[in-house]
């Protein structure tokens, strides 16, 4: 959304239908926020479904939560919060016209995203190993599940963490894109709309995880 600009070297060119750079910045930012609302509502649908079925089958959900290792979720929470900080710092350094520091911050953010995905990978493979798959693929006998429809809990688990994981990957590629543009010198204290937009997206990813962590790992 924030890409309606031609990036010719260092000077940002304001698109013809805007009055000035500030006009473009404010409009782009509103566009980004509107897009974030759709993200919230899409994830929210899953949260609503989760809370309704959690209410209908509290014991089954409690059983499901037992198969999750809260330590993994905890580590990932810390990693994501740290990445959110470095993302915010990336923008801060651009505002201060310190692109080198911004590049380092953004690189750390991508690294944190990668760590998050690696931890997720180990969590997933461990579950697959135990026969814990979503829905009817869940091997009730192998898992030794007490509730026959335990697959529903893991349906939610995989849908929510999977969709979140896709967003993490998406966020990482977006940050990589602004990272390269920062190296190229596209951004400075006068123009950093794209970084700000990607930042907001990355914080949304963090925001969703902040709720997923207690929902899936702790409360169950």
């Amino acid at each position: 959304m924030s890409t309606d600009s031609t990036h010719a070297g260092h000077d940002h060119h304001v698109a013809h239908h805007f009055r000035n750079a500030e006009h473009e910045y404010l409009t782009s930012k509103e566009g980004i926020w509107l897009f974030m609302v759709t993200e919230i509502l899409m994830f929210g649908g899953l949260f609503v479904g989760y809370s309704i079925f959690h209410n209908i089958y509290p014991e089954m959900f409690a059983e499901g939560a037992k198969y999750l290792d809260w330590k993994m979720g905890f580590i990932n929470t810390l990693v994501l919060i740290f990445s959110s900080l470095t993302m915010a710092l990336g923008i801060y350094f651009l505002q201060k016209n310190q692109p080198k520091k911004a590049v380092v911050s953004l690189a750390i953010t991508i690294l944190c995203g990668a760590i998050f995905m690696v931890v997720k990978y180990f969590e997933y493979t461990h579950k697959f190993h135990l026969g814990i798959f979503p829905g009817r693929l869940l091997d009730v006998a192998k898992v030794g599940a007490e509730h026959a429809n335990l697959g529903m809990y893991f349906g939610f688990y995989y849908c929510m963490t999977g969709l979140h994981g896709i967003h993490v990957l998406l966020g990482m590629s977006l940050i990589t894109w602004v990272l390269f543009r920062t190296i190229r010198g596209d951004f400075n204290s006068n123009y950093y709309t794209a970084v700000e937009g990607v930042g907001i997206f990355w914080h949304i990813v963090d925001l969703i995880w902040i709720f997923l962590f207690p929902l899936l790992y702790l409360v169950g």
Partner: protein
């Protein structure tokens, strides 16, 4: 105006040429035309399917297709008309073209996103049509579980197609909100924007807020089919009624995504052809917002007999009644606009009056359906089919046609044959009533919808309805001829053939690439006929 018309012969149509210049254009006007071409094609396809359905229902028993084929054609007719015609219809064609012109902007806020959303619609449509060559789906456009989980057809492909088309709709809405908020010309306050823009704005809010929930619902349905998660599958402890809640949370506001822009068009037409200031600008503007707001509270009226709780049924029935009020306000305001006006019956006005006529009937039958005890009888019968066709076709399609004839001179810089356009209206209007009025009676007599076959008592009314569908087809064919002939050999259109007051008529026809050579400064409301 005169100086503007004489200004230059460069306009958005001939400013660059070649197919590639169209496929990569960022000009909102060209994107509007591209939507027009695509939607017209989809409409033709959906229309042919409608004719086939009516032909099959001409008499009881198998007439021209088997039951399975009927169910497939019924599904595609619904899905095409909803996702590819009526939802993108007015916002994406007329909205794209005229929203920036109406508020004095050079383009929409995010032109690339605008083009991208056209490609989303195309990608979704292609994916949807791909299912025609695999296992044609037969769930109806509503994809109700558990049938959509059990049927052995390409539901997942279709659902992903709908997801992508939904994305197109979201992006259009997002773009419009930002445009209305940020790109208004100096002096163009929110109370000076034309009512069409108010309607598009309200629609855009719905598109942004409701569509994501459809997205997640459809994704969950795919997951349900792939992994049997059981959220919507009763066999696995899920709740099929919850699917309906999620589905209608989007699809009821979607009904207003379809009708609100139509109301906006009608507001423009009535004031332009009565050459009189709109009556109750504020009331019409706020009733658009009001309808959009309340539409999120009423979805349960699609589920009065679904097995949802009695309490929920009563609450939803009550809230539904509230939607009726802003709708009534609009109807009366339009009437009052004509009072002491100078009414000219050109073809766009005919369509606007046709809208009023059909929407009045669609509206009052809507109230009948909102009364829960009466709805129990009418639910899922032809009464409902007739009702929503009166609103969607009689309402939205009439407004599309009217708006298109109104703005045709501006869009293409040519005039069309007025007499043939009127003839087309006569066929569509009469044909429409012949087709759908008998369906109210059929519904009251108890004929359920989505029926391939019916008991002989329903025969004569069904036959009348089928004959009516042919009249509609003739009407649209005439319109197609009018458009093609106008494009090829229409007279050159002046900048303002109707003497209307909104901003788009101050620029030459067709408008130049950047819309306004000098940014307009606005000092008065949009309908200053003094």
């Amino acid at each position: 105006m005169a100086s503007a018309a004489a200004h230059s012969d460069k306009n958005y149509l001939n400013e660059s040429s070649g197919l590639w210049s169209w496929l990569t254009t960022l000009d909102h006007k060209r994107i509007g035309i591209m939507y027009f071409i695509a939607v017209m094609f989809f409409f033709l396809l959906g229309g042919v399917m409608a004719l086939l359905l009516r032909l099959e229902l001409y008499s009881p028993g198998q007439t021209i297709m088997t039951a399975d084929q009927y169910n497939q054609v019924m599904t595609y007719h619904g899905a095409i008309m909803v996702f590819m015609v009526i939802i993108p219809g007015i916002p994406a064609i007329l909205g794209n073209f005229f929203l920036p012109l109406h508020i004095g902007a050079k383009d929409v806020a995010f032109p690339r996103l605008n083009l991208f959303s056209w490609y989303c619609l195309m990608a979704g449509a292609l994916l949807a049509f791909s299912t025609l060559f695999t296992h044609k789906i037969d769930t109806g456009w509503t994809f109700y579980t558990p049938y959509s989980i059990k049927t052995g057809t390409s539901v997942v492909t279709m659902v992903i197609a709908a997801f992508i088309m939904g994305m197109s709709s979201i992006l259009t809405g997002l773009n419009f909100i930002a445009t209305v908020h940020k790109l208004r010309a100096p002096g163009m306050t929110m109370y000076r924007i034309p009512l069409f823009v108010w309607a598009l704005y309200s629609t855009a809010i719905l598109q942004v807020l409701a569509t994501p929930v459809l997205g997640i619902t459809l994704l969950l349905l795919s997951v349900e089919r792939a992994f049997g998660v059981g959220i919507f599958d009763p066999a696995l402890g899920g709740d099929p009624i919850l699917f309906q809640h999620f589905f209608w949370f989007y699809s009821h506001p979607a009904v207003y995504i379809m009708i609100l822009p139509a109301m906006g068009v009608v507001s423009e037409l009535i004031t332009a052809f009565s050459r009189k200031v709109i009556f109750g600008y504020t009331a019409i503007a706020y009733s658009s917002l009001g309808i959009a707001g309340v539409s999120f509270f009423v979805w349960g009226h699609h589920m009065f007999v679904s097995g949802q709780s009695t309490t929920a049924g009563v609450v939803f029935s009550f809230l539904t009644m509230l939607v009726g009020v802003p709708t009534a306000i609009k109807m009366f305001n339009w009437l009052a606009t004509m009072y002491k006006g100078s009414v000219l019956m050109r073809s766009p006005m005919l369509y606007a009056l046709g809208f009023l006529f059909l929407f009045a009937i669609g509206g009052v039958t809507g109230i009948m359906l909102a009364v829960v005890a009466v709805d129990v009888h009418f639910h899922d019968t032809y009464f409902v089919v007739a009702h929503f066709h009166y609103v969607m076709v009689g309402g939205t399609l009439m407004a599309i046609m009217g708006g298109f004839y109104y703005w045709f001179p501006k869009m293409f810089g040519k005039m069309y044959s007025e007499s043939l356009a009127r003839l087309s209206f006569v066929f569509i209007f009469i044909g429409f009533n012949v087709t759908f009025f008998p369906q109210f009676v059929l519904g009251a007599m108890g004929m359920p919808r989505r029926y391939f076959d019916y008991i002989p008592a329903y025969h004569s009314l069904n036959a009348i309805s089928t004959v009516g569908s042919w009249l509609i087809a003739i009407g649209f064919l005439i319109s197609l001829y009018v458009i093609v002939k106008g494009l090829i050999s229409g007279e050159k259109a002046p900048a303002n053939p109707w003497g209307a007051k909104t901003l788009e008529w101050t620029v030459p026809s067709p408008p130049p690439h950047h819309n306004f050579d000098v940014e307009p400064v606005i000092t008065a409301g949009p309908y200053e006929y003094r």
